[in-house]
């Protein structure tokens, strides 16, 4: 099944070592997205970068405790994204959140699958 609609794409940038209430930040954000019923989220790990604190974050082979730049992308309707934003204020201590207007085509395997939004 194919649906086409206008949506918002949210990108959250933070560090891999960042935590929220003792929990890795990406898990906290993913948990919140699922709790609010957002359609989906994907976590990417960058291999190098720097942020507001100008620390160069870099992946090193010999270093296990890495602090790579992380990005989570969430795509959903404007209403759903608006619902998530206030919660992110509390969770993301240091980081960047960017929202852009996008056009979406969604392919789903079964017709019976309910729209998640």
């Amino acid at each position: 099944m194919k649906e086409q609609f206008e949506a918002r794409m949210l990108r959250i940038y933070f560090g891999e070592a960042d935590k929220w209430q003792g929990q890795p930040l990406q898990e906290a954000i993913l948990g919140k997205c699922r709790e609010l019923g957002l359609a989906g989220a994907t976590v990417f790990r960058g291999i190098e970068g720097y942020g507001s604190s100008t620390r160069v974050r870099r992946e090193r082979v010999w270093k296990l405790s890495r602090d790579a730049p992380m990005m989570i992308t969430v795509v959903d309707t404007e209403a759903q994204i608006e619902k998530l934003l206030p919660h992110l204020d509390g969770i993301v201590g240091e980081g960047l959140i960017a929202v852009s207007k996008v056009e979406v085509i969604r392919y789903t395997r079964s017709e019976t699958k309910a729209k998640s939004s």
Binding site: E27, L30, T42, V43, V75, K101
Partner: protein, 237 residues
């Protein structure tokens, strides 16, 4: 130098064993063309044939034949061909020479020359970014879907694509994708990101329709600030 438009194609057929002043006739012809500045020539070897003497020659294992047909072909301007024909008739001996009119669609280019920018590499200003989200284990015709998509984009002249592997997340089925060490068969999410003009990406969408059974396509407007490219080295000689 050969240019686009009308030209002549010359084919010379000789026997493999034919000689000219002690050397193989075809190699004498090739040398002659080379040193007379012909822009290119090809020697083809036939696997069987017969000539004016009506003897059938075939490439058989038991019988090593030196009478197999050899064909030398080249394309040049009419003016140039006329200069060469006299000597060629002498070199070809008992062989056949034919000349036919042809049309050069694309003249050959020296491999060191810089190619002009192909159409699909000229994108400026307003463009679109297309992101496609699929699962790493999704397949299309026995190959990973994301690899098939990259090949399809290449075939459709999409200016470029980058594949990203997500390390966690969830999608339509609420499956949690998570990276685990020592876990080889993972089903991470894959994101392909491509930037090109709106028409090109819209034109590619029917292909995505056919290939992606489950996934998400996200289109957004972007401004292209810089898109530089390096001319590829062509090894045609």
């Amino acid at each position: 130098m050969l240019t686009t438009g009308k030209a002549l194609k010359v084919s010379i057929t000789v026997s493999e064993g034919a000689t000219y002043h002690g050397a193989a006739a075809y190699s004498s012809i090739l040398d002659f063309l080379f040193y007379r500045g012909v822009s290119g020539a090809t020697v083809l070897k036939g696997v069987a044939g017969f000539g004016a003497d009506h003897h059938l020659h075939t490439a058989s294992v038991v019988e090593v034949s030196d009478k197999l047909p050899i064909r030398i072909e080249f394309v040049e301007s009419q003016e140039k061909v006329e200069q060469l024909l006299g000597k060629l008739q002498e070199l070809a001996g008992s062989g056949l020479i034919e000349v036919q009119e042809t049309n050069v669609v694309k003249p050959p280019r020296h491999s060191k020359e810089k190619a002009p920018a192909p159409e699909h590499l000229r994108i400026e200003g307003k463009a679109r970014m297309m992101r496609i989200y699929v699962g790493e284990s999704d397949r299309w015709q026995d190959k990973p879907l994301h690899e098939a998509l990259v090949q399809a984009m290449r075939a459709n002249d999409i200016a470029g694509v980058t594949v990203y592997r997500g390390i966690g997340g969830y999608g339509a089925h609420r499956r949690v994708h998570k990276e685990k060490p020592l876990h080889l068969s993972r089903d991470a999410s894959i994101m392909l990101s491509a930037v090109d003009t709106e028409e090109k990406l819209k034109g590619f969408l029917p292909v995505v329709d056919r290939m992606v059974e489950e996934g998400l396509v996200v289109l957004s407007e972007v401004d292209i600030i810089k898109y530089s490219w390096r001319a590829p080295e062509v090894d045609v000689e």
